[in-house]
């Protein structure tokens, strides 16, 4: 036989449960995860750009039908998916915090919807707006508690995956630095054409000849006047050759410097993205601890890294535009 629970017992138990719940929830402070989301967004852009830089470098050095180029395209898609997943995750954390902080307005929205339904079925005023108002106030606290719990659960569950994703992306980016250096050397060697190399050698020979003439001139100071008349025109002719040769060489040297500058910016972006991923790992661990300890979280280092990435991406785009012009 099933025993009937007295009605007043249920009510008392429910009220006690509610009060206990509210007591434990009071004072919950949701951390500001927006800077974390901003940092992840910058990392997403940094990894994306770094991948594009590496793909461009690989395409410039590997044959067009190389299996390695296809492998890179295929596997880099996983990296894009990984940073997109990180960004979605960070945005979701932000939306949990938003939901937790707007409990009253969400409860009001629901109460309006219910009232609207009640009026449609001819039962307006059945529930009563006062009840909804009290419910909204209680729900404000409840929502914060629910959000804290949900945030705690999400951050704890995602911890190993975030760390692993960061570690793999860091290793990938570190692997890119060496080929970028090697491709830079190949690009510079490509500009140093046979004509340029011969020009450098010609200039070295002319400089040596001029220096010999000058040395001779200084050593034969007794017959200085006679030598001066004979040698000076030769030196002047050599000086003209030196000037012309230097102009031609300078053009290539300047081109080399521009290439080195562009490669340096690319290396900087990759290094900054590595640093930002390391900061992300630390920030995520800190976030987990902050939620547990009910304290605020600082993402200053991560935000700084994110700003650096954004600036370098802009610099690379400017360099690219200058080169295209």
């Amino acid at each position: 036989m099933r025993l009937k629970t007295p009605r007043h017992a249920i009510t008392t138990t429910s009220i006690l449960t509610l009060l206990t719940l509210l007591a434990t929830l009071t004072g919950c402070q949701l951390p500001n995860v927006q800077p974390f989301a901003q940092g992840v967004a910058a990392i997403h852009a940094g990894v994306d750009q770094s991948g594009a830089i590496f793909q461009e470098a690989a395409a410039s050095t590997l044959p067009p039908d190389s299996i390695h180029l296809k492998t890179l395209d295929q596997h880099w898609a996983s990296r894009r998916a990984a940073t997109a997943a990180l960004a979605d995750y960070a945005d979701t954390l932000a939306s949990i915090v938003d939901a937790g902080n707007s409990g009253a307005s969400n409860a009001n929205r629901l109460s309006n919807a219910v009232e609207n339904l009640m009026s449609k079925v001819g039962a307006a005023g059945l529930v009563g707006s006062a009840a909804f108002q009290i419910g909204g106030e209680i729900y404000e606290t409840v929502a914060q508690g629910l959000a804290t719990n949900s945030l705690d659960k999400a951050v704890r569950n995602a911890g190993p995956a975030v760390a692993k994703t960061c570690d793999i992306l860091i290793a990938d980016l570190q692997d890119m630095l060496e080929p970028i250096d090697a491709v830079e050397q190949a690009t510079l060697a490509d500009i140093e054409t046979k004509d340029y190399i011969n020009e450098v050698k010609r200039l070295q020979a002319i400089l040596a000849r001029r220096n010999t003439l000058l040395d001779n001139l200084i050593q034969t100071d007794e017959s200085w006047a006679a030598d001066h008349d004979a040698v000076l025109p030769q030196i002047e002719a050599l000086e003209k050759l030196i000037a012309a040769s230097t102009t031609r060489i300078t053009a290539v040297v300047e081109q080399n410097a521009a290439i080195a500058h562009a490669f340096q910016a690319k290396r900087t972006l990759i290094a900054q993205t590595i640093a930002a991923l390391q900061d992300l790992k630390t920030s995520h661990t800190d976030l987990a601890q902050a939620i547990k300890a009910n304290r605020t979280v600082s993402a200053r280092t991560l935000l700084h890294s994110a700003n650096q990435i954004t600036k370098t991406i802009t610099r690379i785009e400017q360099i690219r535009e200058t080169t295209d012009e």
Binding site: F54, A57, A58, T61, L62, H68, T71, L72, Q74, H75, S78, R79, A82, A85, L86, Y89, T92, L93, S95, I96, D98, A99, G100, N106, A107, L110, A113, N116, L117, K120, V121, L146, A147, S150, K153, A154, N157, A158, P160, A161, K164, T165, I168, L169, A171, D172, D175, M176, E178, A182, V183, Q185, A186, A189, E192, K194, I197, N198, V200, K201
Partner: protein, 165 residues
């Protein structure tokens, strides 16, 4: 003194090139950076003497610089590819957590009951219109229109419930 200053004959230069190529081979075999060898190969081209025989050595040096870049890049791609499975597993784990967290956010937002109640209200409204619409002077076209509206509202309600459960 530079490493080129002691080189006098063609053989000296050819031996130096051999030494550089061997250094590059060793570095690549051990997956070590060979950029310093590339730099020396570029310097080799700039410092070697004039002449067609030296041009040939220079061509070899240039090809070596390019090959080092290609091999270094290929090795890095192979290392990146090896990590993909592990990364995919981590991403799957992350996506699962995100998906649960998104559901949590929707629950805290009260979005689910609000969406159902709103959809239910629309359905009730449409059904009431349908019931009230049957008067002796209602033509078939009006009836059809109200039935269509009611069906749309019911379908929407069903879709809403399906999407949140």
């Amino acid at each position: 003194m530079s490493e080129w200053a002691t080189l006098a004959t063609f053989e000296d230069w050819a031996n130096k090139l051999d030494e550089l190529l061997e250094a590059a081979r060793e570095k690549l075999a051990q997956s070590e950076p060979a950029t310093d060898v590339q730099r020396r190969l570029r310097q080799f081209r700039l410092n070697s003497p004039f002449g067609p025989r030296f041009d040939k050595l220079n061509d070899i040096a240039f090809a070596a610089v390019t090959d080092i870049a290609a091999q270094t890049t290929a090795q890095a791609i192979e290392r990146i590819a090896l990590r993909s499975n592990e990364l995919d597993d981590a991403v799957l784990q992350l996506r699962t957590t995100t998906s649960t967290a998104q559901r949590d956010a929707a629950i805290i937002n009260l979005r689910t009951p609000t969406t159902i109640v709103t959809s239910l209200t629309e359905t009730v409204g449409a059904l009431k219109d349908l019931r009230d619409g049957f008067t002796p002077d209602t033509n078939q076209e009006q009836v059809n229109k109200r039935i269509a509206t009611a069906i749309t509202a019911i379908t929407k309600l069903r879709d809403t419930i399906e999407s949140v459960t």
